[in-house]
Amino acid sequence: MGQTLFQKIWDAHVVQARDDGLALLYVDRHYFHEGSFHAFNILKARGLKVRRPDLSFGFGDHYAPTVGRSTPEVADPEIRGIIETFEANARANRIRAFELADPDQGIVHVAGPEQGLTLPGMTVVCGDSHTSTHGALGALAFGIGASEVAHVLATQTIWQSPPKQIRCHFEGALPAGSTAKDMALALIAQIGTGGGLGGAIEFAGPAVRALSIEARLTLCNMAIEAGARTGMVAPDATTAAWLIGRPYAPAEPDPAWSRLFSDPDARFDSEVTLDATQIRPMATWGTSPEEAVPLSGRVPRLDEAPDEARQKAWARSLDYMGLRGGEEMADVALDRVFLGSCTNARIEDLRDAAAVLRGKRIAVPMLVSPGSSRVKRAAEAEGLDRIFKEAGARWEESSCALCVSMHGEVVGEGERCASTSNRNFAGRQGRGARTHLVSPASAAASAVAGRLVGAA
């Protein structure tokens, strides 16, 4: 029987297998960020060394301010302290870290791939759930907790039980105006945040093949929001073309990359198929990524809930979000808009949003935080920054920013924000903040309209 893409990468990394299925996997690439300080503390407490400092790379992103690139000038002493700790841990362990002032600083899931540090066939881990993003390049990539980060630093390996293997086909062609973000939200609305629980999702089908690498990164980024451990796309000519020439990528594609695909007779534990031709610009209305509908639709009524647990959850969501069941999504008025995050802050995302904003003025405040400092420079070279600024948006530095609101700015209590990020959890953008997840084009159109709308 043939093998899946997942199995091929898994098998190539097994250091030791146990009878109960658990395997010790070798880790090719470990990324970390300021929040990984717990793991370094665990190492310190046990007097352990980093085994392979050459295979770990740090990126300052979660606490990076959106204004200023100098660590000593970070105003909040607690935030400054945590950034200093990150930089000191990297230096003490001789690890390359892309610090705040580094011209190649960025969000780990944007800047890591951008540097060519994630390659097809690799195992990639990071103490961040959105590590699934890197699967877009044909890697086996998943998020881990602090204890596991310490384990990886000390041993360059990780214990894993084999996940369920799920294949998600997107058939047909995605309509113009719909994006990878809309594909992800449509999928999660269909299968739920538990739909991929503990699984490895391989995204396949013509609509996935047609996606750019940046769009595939967006799709795999959201795999975790379906509950999956990872998402992945088999590498192809698009992958190789995107990688070659990046600082850490090889000069030529590795011939081994061409064997990284699921064999025709490979078996998956489950398969799900979506008709891409039917996917329209989406937005969430609730506090779970599965609570999403087309922007042309309406907020569901409680009597439409498929079961009692969902009905209770929807009632909580509606209450938190300050919405009524049956309300048109297009009637939902916004207080602000955030364009950024590891989901949607790559150059193509900024181009999509700028195309909508060109020559227009925004009706509500909008923050644009590019996914990396390189993305920021590339956007400025194309003049996108002028479009954002002329429309009235704030054009600031690269950071996780308002996706997780650890950097010192929050969305206020009761404020409603259309956001290109990945989580609309209660309190995610700030205590009492109300988040609607959308694509970059929809975020821009919504900023102009002052309410939730898709790009015309």
Binding site: L22, L24, R229, A313
Partner: protein
């Protein structure tokens, strides 16, 4: 880590599905080092009003549930962010076990590494347990990790499974790093094989 063998405690019903780790541990507290303050961060925004007063309607503020050691939760508990701080907060609040029909994948492994036992049971069983502890506040539940068995307030027993390696570590109070380091020759051999291949 303290070994985990058998544990009996008051169980608190927590009737919410898809409780994400942002609810359990709001991001703004994550810059703080792990210490006793983590007990106040757990479910912070549901437990406290913006001015810091306890919300009396929040179940974990109500006696006897404020001293519970076992949480009987809804499906898909601990979904979302990989923040291990969510587990630190629950442990600091005094929980040593969470029972649910399913767990967020990363939360599940984080819990095992910190002596917080995640027990997966059928949804109908979990619903029954939650109802039982809600209608008779102060009722205890027992878990036996060696037998992988939970004893409900009515005396009925329910089998659960914890992955073998993690169970061994928990039972013996060992952490995985030390055990994996004994496999250094295998890890070095793997690296040598790859470098040669």
């Amino acid at each position: 880590m303290e070994p985990f063998t058998r544990y009996t405690a008051i169980a608190a019903p927590f009737d919410q599905a898809n409780v994400d780790t942002d609810q359990i541990m709001p991001a703004r507290f994550m810059r703080r080092p792990r210490d006793e303050r983590y007990a106040t961060y757990g479910f912070h925004d549901q437990r406290f009003t913006p001015d810091g007063a306890k919300r009396p309607d929040f179940i974990l503020n109500q006696p006897p549930f404020d001293t519970a050691g076992i949480l009987v939760a809804g499906r898909n508990f601990g979904v979302g962010s990989s923040r291990e701080a969510a587990v630190y907060a629950l442990a600091a609040m005094g929980f040593r076990c969470v029972v649910a029909a399913s767990f967020g994948d990363i939360f599940f492994s984080n819990a095992l590494k910190n002596g917080l036992l995640p027990v997966r049971l059928l949804e109908s069983t979990v619903n029954g347990l939650r109802q039982a502890v809600a209608t008779a506040p102060g009722t205890t539940i027992s878990v036996d990790l060696e037998r992988q068995e939970l004893t409900a307030p009515d005396g009925s027993t329910h089998q659960f499974t914890v992955p073998g390696f993690a169970r061994d570590c928990l039972l013996r109070g060992l952490d995985e790093i030390g055990l994996t380091m004994t496999l250094e020759p295998e890890i070095a051999a793997f690296e040598a094989r790859r470098a040669g291949g």
